[in-house]
C-alpha cells in the first residue's frame, strides 16, 4: 500500500479532548479507502477519542476532519450518516426490542417521516441479517442473546446503514477468543466482498496484526507509528507504546508479526534482546 492511496476520511492537525483537557494533540491521519485500518495503543492513549473525532461524535478543538474533502463538522448530520457508520463502545438496546427491529433502526438516515419502510430498507436489513448470520434470531429479543450474538446484531445494524465507511470501537471487548475471531473474520469478509473501508480500535496486538492492512499505533495522544503491521511492529515499538518487553516473530499461520510478551520472572534470566539495549523512541511522532 502506498502512502498516497486515496483516503476519503482524513484528519488534519486534529486536537480532541473533553472538559478542557486535550487527549489527542494535532494529529494527522489518513484512512486508506477499501482497507482495514486498526488503531492500537495502551489504555487512555486516545484511541477511542480519535475514532470518535473521525466519526464527528466529538467536535475537534483544533484542526479538521475531512470526509471526501469537506469538513465533517459542517456537513448535515444525516448526510454524514449515509456515508460513515460508527459502532460506539456501549450502544444501548431499548428494552424488549427484537433483533429485526433493532437492525431496522440502522436505516434511519435513509428514511423520511412519510417513507419509513421502503423496499430498499427491507432489502438492506435482510442482507445485513444474512451477512452477519443472525437471520435465525430475527424474531428474538436482544436481551436474550449471548454476547457474541449481540455484537453481531450491532454490526448488522451498522451494515444496514449501508455506508462505505465503517468505524468500530473495540468490537471484540467482552468476547471470548472464538467470538473475537468470528467478529474479525466477519469484518474481513465485508471488507473483501464489498470493498468497505473499515477502521477498528483493538486491544489484542496479535489479532490486530493479522487483520490490519494498516496499523496506527498511538501513544499519549500522538501517532507513534503507522504502516503495514510487518513494517512497524518491532520490539522497540511495543516497548515504546505499551511499555512492555517482548519478542516479535513471524506468525507461523499468517506470517504477520506475532508479539510474545516476556514474563517478569524470565526477564533477568534470559539473554536480553540486543535491540532493547539501544532503544530510542521511534521518531514518528506527529
Amino acid at each position: 500500500m502506498t502512502e498516497d492511496a486515496s483516503a476519503s476520511l482524513r484528519a488534519e492537525g486534529v486536537t480532541l479532548g473533553y472538559d478542557g483537557i486535550d487527549i489527542v494533540h494535532g494529529l494527522d491521519v489518513a484512512i486508506p479507502d477499501g482497507r482495514i485500518t486498526v488503531i492500537v495503543g495502551a489504555n487512555a492513549c486516545g484511541k477511542s477519542t480519535l475514532l470518535r473525532g473521525l466519526a464527528r461524535l466529538l467536535r475537534p478543538r483544533g484542526g479538521v476532519v475531512l470526509l471526501d474533502g469537506q469538513a465533517i463538522s459542517r456537513l448535515p448530520t444525516r448526510e454524514v450518516a449515509t456515508r460513515l457508520g460508527i459502532l460506539p463502545q456501549q450502544p444501548i438496546a431499548p428494552d424488549g426490542i427484537t433483533v429485526a427491529e433493532l437492525v431496522a433502526r440502522g436505516r434511519h438516515p435513509h428514511q423520511r417521516w412519510f417513507r419509513q419502510w421502503s423496499t430498499d430498507d427491507e432489502v438492506a436489513v435482510e442482507a445485513a441479517l444474512i451477512a452477519t448470520g443472525v437471520s435465525a434470531l430475527a424474531g428474538r429479543t436482544v436481551d436474550e442473546l449471548s454476547g457474541g450474538q449481540r455484537q453481531r446484531v450491532w454490526i448488522a445494524l451498522a451494515l444496514a446503514q449501508g455506508t462505505p465507511l465503517l468505524l468500530l470501537d473495540e468490537p471484540t471487548t467482552y468476547l471470548d477468543i472464538a467470538h473475537q475471531v468470528e467478529v474479525l473474520d466477519l469484518l474481513a469478509r465485508l471488507n473483501e466482498e464489498d470493498g468497505r473501508t473499515i477502521v477498528l480500535v483493538l486491544h489484542d496486538l496479535n489479532l490486530a496484526c493479522r487483520y490490519a492492512d494498516r496499523l496506527i499505533a498511538m501513544r499519549a495522544g500522538c501517532v507513534a507509528a503507522e504502516g503495514a503491521p510487518a513494517d512497524v511492529v518491532t520490539p522497540e515499538l511495543v516497548a515504546d507504546v505499551f511499555d512492555l518487553e517482548c519478542h516479535v516473530m513471524p506468525d507461523p499461520l499468517t506470517g504477520t508479526p506475532l508479539v510474545l510478551p516476556v514474563p517478569a520472572r524470565r526477564r533477568s534470566s534470559t539473554e536480553r534482546n540486543p535491540c532493547l539495549e539501544t532503544t530510542t523512541p521511534l521518531a514518528v511522532h506527529a
Binding site: R78, P94, D95, H108, W117
Partner: protein, 361 residues
Amino acid sequence: MTAVVTAEPPGAPASARLVTVRLARGWVSGRVDRRAVVVTLGLVAATAGVFVWSLAVGDYPVPVGRVVGTLLGDDTGGDGFIVRSIRLPRGITALEVGAAFGLSGAVFQRLVRNPLASPDVVGINSGAALVACWVVIIAHGSTAQVAGGAIAGATAAALALYLLAYRRGVSSYRIVLVGIGLTAILTALTNYLFTQAAIYEAQRAFLWLTGSLNGRGWDHVRPVSIALVVLVPVTLGLSRQLRLLEMGDDLSRALGGRVDATRGALLVSGALLAATGTAAAGPVAFVALAAPQIARRLVGGRTLALVPAAVCGALLLVAADLVGRRLLAPTELPVGVVTGVVGAPYLLYLLARSNRLGSGG
C-alpha cells in the same frame, strides 16, 4: 394509486405483528404493529364507552340513548342542558387532561429510560404546584391566574431541571437524580406556604393540589384544547428522533440524530403537556406514571408507544372521575383521590417488580 399491504412472512414470529404499508409506488411507506393498532382501537372504544356513561349517570340520570341524542343535537326536554353544559365540558376536560398526562409520562419515561420517571417524579408537577399555591395563598388570584401560575411553575421547573442536570449534554440518570432533589425542595417550599395561609385559602389550595375536575366548564376546555392541538403533533413528530435517542447519544448521532436539540425539545413539550394538564385539573397523581406502563403491557411489553399511552391516560382519568363522582354519591371525591388510591399500590407493585428484576425495566 395502489396500496400494497403485506404481512411479514410467518417465519419471524415477533416481526409477524408488523404490517408493511406501501402507497404511491413505494413513495410513501411505513410499518405498523398490528397489535398496537388493535389495542389502541380497543382503548379508544373503551374510553368512548366510559365517556358516554359518565355523561349519563349522576344525581339527574339521563338514559344513554338520550345522551347520544343530545350530543347529536336533539334539543327536546331539559336533558340537553345537563349533558351539554355541565357534564360534557367536564368529561372533555378529563379526556384531555388524561391524554396530556399519559403522553407526557411516556415521553419522560422513554427519554430517561426509567419507568419511574414521570413529570410528577422529576419535579415538573411540584413546580406547577408551588407557583399555583403561591397564587392562591399569597396573591389571592383568580382560577385563570392559578392555571397560568401552574404553567409558569412547570416550565420554570423543567428549565431548572435541564440546567441543573446539564453537564456535557444531559444524561438520563442525572435527570432522575436532579428531578428527585428538585421535587423535595419545591415540596418543602409549598409546605412552607401552607403554614402562612389563612384557612379559606389553605382549603382552596389544598383542593387544587389534590386534583379535581369539579365544575369544569367550556372556559376550561378551550385553552386546554388549544394547547393540545399544538403540543400533541409536535411531540408525536419528535417520536422518530426519540427512537434514536433510546440507543444512546453516540449511536443516535451516528445514525443522523440531533441529540441535544431533540432532548431539549422533548423535555419542553413533555413539561408543557404536564403543565397543561396540571393547570386544568391540578397535579392529579399517578396518571402520567401509570398510563404509559399499562399501555405498554397491553401492547405486549415491548416498546413504549406514545399514542396508546395518551389514550390510556384519557381512559384512566375519565374512569377515575366517574368513580369519584358516583362511589360515595352524593358526596363527590376529587379525581386525584381516586387515582391516588389506585395508583399508590400500582407504584409499589412497579417498585417491587423492578427490584426483583434488578433493573428499571
